[in-house]
Symmetry: C2
Amino acid sequence: MNQEHKELPIGIFDSGVGGLTVYRALHDRLPNERFIYLGDTARVPYGTKSLATVERYALENSQFLTSRGIKMLVVACNTASALALPKIREAIGIDVVGVIGPGGRRAVEVAGSKGRIAVAATEATVLSNAYADAIRRASPDAELIQAECPLFVPLAEEGWTSEPETFSIAEKYLAGIRAFGPDALVLGCTHYPILRDVIQQTVGANVKLIDSGEATAVEVAELLEAKNLASATEPSGKRRLCDDLDHFFVTDAAERFGRIAERFLGSTPSKLEAVEVFGYDKLSKQ
Amino acid sequence: MNQEHKELPIGIFDSGVGGLTVYRALHDRLPNERFIYLGDTARVPYGTKSLATVERYALENSQFLTSRGIKMLVVACNTASALALPKIREAIGIDVVGVIGPGGRRAVEVAGSKGRIAVAATEATVLSNAYADAIRRASPDAELIQAECPLFVPLAEEGWTSEPETFSIAEKYLAGIRAFGPDALVLGCTHYPILRDVIQQTVGANVKLIDSGEATAVEVAELLEAKNLASATEPSGKRRLCDDLDHFFVTDAAERFGRIAERFLGSTPSKLEAVEVFGYDKLSKQ
């Protein structure tokens, strides 16, 4: 692999701000790498939309990022990872990593091959059975339960991380999971790590929470090494989240994105631009 | 006005399912009229998006509906009514009625010209000050307060119309309004009538709730008469909501729309189709 290619950034897209939790995990683990993040805030959320629509949006986002020059693509959005990875891989010529495979494999590692594993996710992700499939591929003997938690995304975006209403809603959504008594619970939506404390208290301290973003960062680091794609350039000073080596794009409302980034990461992107991605899927090889 | 034109349907668009409450109000008041409803479910919600994006989406929806042949356009979405009416009127050659003007005027009628009026709405609608402007135009002496209620839309879509969490969240959002002691409270988002009981109990029985959809239906009926546009055809049998004289379009996930329509209206559209509206704004005269 030529040197120039190794110095390209890693692309990350998400339906909106939630993928910033995946960006944080990647940034923490890979201090030599630069990132380009695209949040499709003009069309968020994906979790209640259809397969065809999620595929189209995901292709447009992917083609936008590849047009900027990236060496690898991370699909941070769980819904897009669940529904659109095959289409994205067909359309672009670089490695594509979703969050579901890594999250599922990590859950099996933590719970053991005959472990009890729970998945909390959006409507579309649960219906897709993508986590169930990933977990069964890693271990056919794992015991599984899934729960849809549609209000978790708006609660996280409101910043209601310790309000009594959030606890009460979590009690409702996670009652089945608590009764099931899992060894591990996959946080199957990028927003859910924001509600980690509430979720942990609701299901009990003995349940291991799996952050798919962190699991993905581990696999991305391994893949960069295996493919000899890791950047050799060490940053001159200490990297910080959202510094000017990383570039952020949104399809709408940059100001609101900056505000929620502050809430999620404790800092606002230095480089943040609004862009239009519609039509980028026409660049596809299909 | 020629007979054929009078027999055209009335177009209605909304960012998603919420506008069905406006459709219901129009349908109840105008049994001779047929309706074409477009729910932009591929891009819902609008309430957290920017002016430029809401304008573009609203134009595309409007042009799609005019391309089908309509005699009047009702913008059922409060956010689109707040942000995009001037652009829509510039682009299409028929009467356009939003929900904010009628809702604001009705609030002043009910509260009196020196009355105290509260508005509960989405982030974008509150920030636009569109209700405040409409109310001040109807009465410069009205006293005003506004509150953003971002979780009301997902709560309504979840069908949580009497859960304790919904009451508790309403307490938080509406505490300022209750302390203000309004004569009337405008339900400034099409989803909010679904939560009418919770909202009424929270602010107190003496506060009159204004459903902008109902106020809009009254003004549409007057406008049809004034412009000699009312249909002269009486339906052969009794009309019912969602019968096959009315035609529903969504930009995504028709199945989910049908399910929520059932929850909102007690019936599912007989004629329901998924369409693509992107690019329809290019038909604009601009």
